[in-house]
């Protein structure tokens, strides 16, 4: 194991290129990348190509099925173009998802690695903080906070982040805890490397697989949580569209205008599945140990 760690330090550039190579040969990851890129492109460029404005209400053409009069995905109960709304909503929902992923993963990783590395009192305190957040049902927190503030995209992202970092922290902590007594860490100590170096250059990279898996789940979680909150009526408020609040009123029209429910639901599924596929590819790509198995 000592040889492994010294090796890993030496051959870092090699792993990177190999990771990229592995990622590119990962079919699902490619599909995921294509899904996400296509959706991103559609959301950011699509609105300029569509003949309709996402806010324009036309009661004469409400509930038009997909394909009518150039309404690609039909219209909603106010006669607004669903495609235009979907793409605008996508900008918001994906931004929320990304923001949450970045914030939550950073917080979670730092807390997890510190806690796992130092153990003892530090770990006890930090993990109790994690417990505190975990034992707070996130939906409760979200709803309670929504009562205080006007829930906009930034606030929703922050709130979801506040309830999403703990899982990463727990996973990183568990991983680091099980790694810290291993030979390569002992070796690093003996080499006189600083704690910070060991934590973030030795231990964290070794925990990257679980972190990426957790991070992908976090994007899923963020987009889904936004949808949940909006479905319950407490999320991003109309007229600002988000995939979540587009689904909000859709249940009512399930029997008569099912596309209202299907279109945003499919968009969410594509986006989240895309991120999951990418995450899976990354996991395999970065998993240096799997070579040896």
């Amino acid at each position: 194991m000592t040889t492994l760690s010294t090796n890993s330090a030496e051959r870092k550039p090699l792993i990177k290129s190999r990771a990229l190579r592995r990622f590119l040969s990962h079919k699902l990851a490619l599909i995921g990348t294509i899904m996400v890129l296509t959706l991103t492109f559609a959301c950011f460029v699509g609105p300029y190509l569509l003949p309709y404005d996402e806010l324009y209400i036309d009661l004469m053409s409400r509930f038009a099925p997909p394909g009518t009069n150039g309404h690609l995905f039909g219209t909603d109960p106010l006669g607004r173009d669903i495609a235009a709304r979907l793409f605008h909503a996508g900008q918001i929902s994906m931004a929320v998802g990304f923001a949450v992923m970045i914030i939550a993963t950073c917080i979670g990783s730092v807390i997890g690695v510190i806690s796992g590395y130092y153990g003892g009192a530090v770990s006890a305190v930090l993990m109790r903080v994690v417990d505190a957040f975990l034992s707070f049902p996130s939906v409760f927190l979200l709803l309670a906070l929504a009562a205080f503030i006007q829930p906009g995209p930034v606030m929703i992202a922050l709130i979801i982040s506040a309830t999403s970092w703990m899982e990463v922290a727990r996973i990183v902590e568990a991983e680091v805890k099980s790694l810290r007594n291993q030979d390569f860490v002992q070796a690093a100590h003996m080499l006189g490397l600083s704690n910070r170096w060991i934590m973030f250059r030795e231990l964290l990279p070794n925990a990257i697989g679980p972190i990426i898996v957790a991070a992908t789940l976090t994007v899923a979680r963020a987009i889904l949580l936004e949808a949940y909150i909006s479905f319950l009526g407490y999320g991003i408020q109309p007229p600002l569209p988000s995939w979540g609040n587009m689904l909000n009123g859709a249940q009512q029209y399930l029997a008569t205008a099912p596309w209202l429910a299907i279109v945003p639901g499919v968009a969410i599924t594509i986006a989240v599945a895309g991120f999951n596929f990418i995450g899976d590819g990354l996991r395999d790509a970065f998993d240096s140990r799997s070579d040896l198995g």
Binding site: S135, V139, A144, A147, D280, G293
Partner: protein
């Protein structure tokens, strides 16, 4: 071990206190309140609202209200629901069965199915089954539970008419078969996502074990696949699985909340939403404390079990 348990218990109690105070403060300081639901009733004047607020002690400072609530909690009195005047424990208890039935069924399905899929996928890594299940799991994880529920209702209730669209049983029927027909859709919808979660985690943790020295050693020693599987892989995969089981608990409440909403299931999730809507603080606080306790106890048990199973992790 006993000392460790005591200190963990002490920590948990402090944690509960903090959680309860934050929850109480957020609820009480939030605008609106339990009397706002009467605001649109004819004859309900501000004067009357003020009088009732005074009688209920809602006009006292938050800290005073909190310690009043806490001192009652300490002697086992969880308070009285603002909505129906019944004791909070009774209210929660009366919704408990529905939730346990739904979550229990879903959990049994998801743990057994999810774990099996996870282990099998990991062992046959890269095979057709693994590949299919990986894709399935990720797609399932990408579907919003409530949306999946809506689509299920659309297909199986609205179009095919096979299954009831909601509720736990038909009033006046209530036979086992009737319960089952109402249970199928929500339990499956809930379980499907959980199956995905469990299979992903199980696959990941099994792979971690597979890649560790002792398994390779065991294989090298010529032990058969089955013995390796049961003696090492399953045993060692259990460690993160149990930790994750503890982690899953608050998600149980979250999942219940959304699924029960879509399928109008009369459980604690709906109770939570209804109570929030009516600002029924005692019930909301009760549910909050109950779930926080559940999570803490779950995590504590998980830690202990892990320590008992895995000698490499010491409880220090």
């Amino acid at each position: 071990m006993a000392r460790y348990l005591l200190s963990r218990l002490g920590q948990s109690l402090i944690l509960l206190l903090i959680v309860s105070f934050i929850g109480f403060a957020v609820l009480t300081l939030a605008p609106g309140g339990p009397l706002s639901q009467f605001a649109l009733s004819p004859g309900m004047t501000q004067e009357q609202i003020d009088k009732i607020a005074n009688q209920m002690g809602l006009d006292r400072p938050v800290v005073v209200q909190y310690f009043d609530w806490l001192s009652h909690l300490l002697i086992g009195d969880w308070g009285t629901s603002y909505r129906d005047g019944q004791s909070v424990l009774h209210v929660i208890g009366s919704h408990l069965f529905a939730t346990l039935l739904l979550m229990g069924t879903a959990t049994v399905i998801s743990v057994t199915l999810g774990s099996s899929i996870g282990i099998y996928s990991a062992l046959r890594r890269g095979g057709a089954f693994d590949y299919t299940m990986t894709v399935f799991a990720m797609v399932a994880l990408s579907i919003p539970t409530f949306w999946f529920g809506l689509i299920a209702i659309y297909i199986f209730s609205l179009n095919l008419g096979w299954l009831p669209a909601g509720n736990m049983y038909t009033v006046g029927d209530g036979s086992v078969l009737d319960y089952i027909s109402h249970l199928i859709m929500p339990a499956t919808v809930l379980a499907l996502v959980d199956v995905a979660i469990w299979s992903r985690y199980m696959r990941t943790s099994t792979l971690n074990v597979v890649n560790q020295d002792f398994v390779r050693t065991a294989k090298a020693k010529g032990l058969t696949g089955r013995r390796v599987l049961f003696k090492h892989i399953v045993g060692n995969s259990l460690v993160p699985m149990i930790t994750l089981a503890g982690l899953q608990l608050p998600m149980v409440l979250g999942g219940a909340l959304v699924t029960e909403t879509v399928f109008t299931w009369p459980g604690m999730g709906r109770l939570f939403l209804d109570s929030l809507g009516y600002s029924d603080y005692p019930v909301v606080m009760g549910l909050l404390m109950a779930s926080a306790m559940l999570v803490l106890v779950g995590n504590l048990l998980a830690d202990i079990t892990v320590a008992l199973i895995d000698p490499r992790i010491r409880l220090d």
